[in-house]
């Protein structure tokens, strides 16, 4: 790919991620917020593919867009079914929140300046086969712990959300 195409793709994905994140932070409509979250997550998946991590991009789409976002939509529909129309989101402490968020992210960007000089183009990522050798080799304990965490979360969700039969 030529440099122009690569740069254009990067900024297109960055625009998608930032617009989605801005929608999540700023909109007053809860459905638009869920859509903004979807746009941001898809842009993140696009970034992963941009850096050569095809499997990671696919996992992001499956788990986040296919799982977490649908969970959000179900929660919105379950929770807000009683109120008529779309629920409004309200905000508070606007100025202090802007100051805290802008200050902290500017500080982070300043601290991460040395890392910025290391950033370059996409490297050779290694396909799913290499990833599976990593996950079932050196990272086996982490992998199993993540699986156990998911199982515990599943049980917790059933206990917390499914109880109270009338």
């Amino acid at each position: 790919m030529s440099a122009v195409v690569t740069n254009g793709l990067f900024w297109l994905l960055a625009l998608g991620a930032l617009v989605g994140a801005g929608t999540v932070a700023l909109t007053r409509d809860v459905m638009r917020m869920a859509l903004g979250l979807g746009v941001m997550l898809l842009s993140l998946a696009g970034f992963f593919a941009y850096y050569g991590f095809g499997f990671l991009a696919l996992a992001e789409v499956f788990v986040y867009v296919g799982g977490v976002l649908i969970l959000f939509l179900f929660a919105i529909m379950l929770v807000h079914r009683t109120t008529a129309g779309r629920p409004e989101l309200e905000s508070r402490n606007r100025v202090a929140s802007i100051a805290a968020a802008a200050g902290l992210s500017a500080l982070l960007a300043f601290m991460l300046q040395p890392a910025g000089s290391l950033l370059g183009g996409a490297g050779s990522a290694g396909g799913p086969a290499a990833l599976s050798r990593l996950l079932l080799g050196p990272m086996l304990i982490v992998f199993e712990a993540a699986g156990a965490l998911l199982l515990i979360a599943l049980v917790a969700v059933v206990v917390v959300g499914g109880g109270e039969r009338e």
């Binding site: 932070a25 941001m40 950033l119």
Partner: protein, 101 residues
């Protein structure tokens, strides 16, 4: 450098949403945005500084673990939201003062 700025902006927008929202679902969505920024920077750095040491592969593994943990967090959080809403008929933080000291 641009990736650092993008990921810090994502983190900042998520933090702003977390601070400014009054709806629990909005706060959870903002936390997801906040998680996305560092994850993006991790993946970008891992892909960029791979000099045969396998850092790209390690970044991929760590990012996968982040995805799993975030999915578990969102599932438990939303189940709590639904349980709380069933009890109090509201998801606004101002109404959830039952356990206030």
């Amino acid at each position: 450098m641009s990736l650092v700025l993008v990921s810090c902006a994502l983190f900042g927008l998520g933090l702003y949403g977390t601070l400014v929202r009054r709806d629990i679902i909005g706060i959870l969505a903002s936390i997801e945005v906040m998680l996305g920024g560092p994850q993006l920077l991790l993946v970008g750095l891992g892909a960029s500084i791979d000099h045969g040491a396998g850092s790209a592969l390690n970044a991929q593994g760590i990012a996968l673990v982040i995805i799993v943990v975030a999915a578990a967090e969102a599932a438990v959080g939303l189940a709590l939201v639904v349980a709380v809403a069933r009890r109090t008929r509201s998801t606004r933080l101002d109404d959830l003062t039952e356990v206030k000291g």
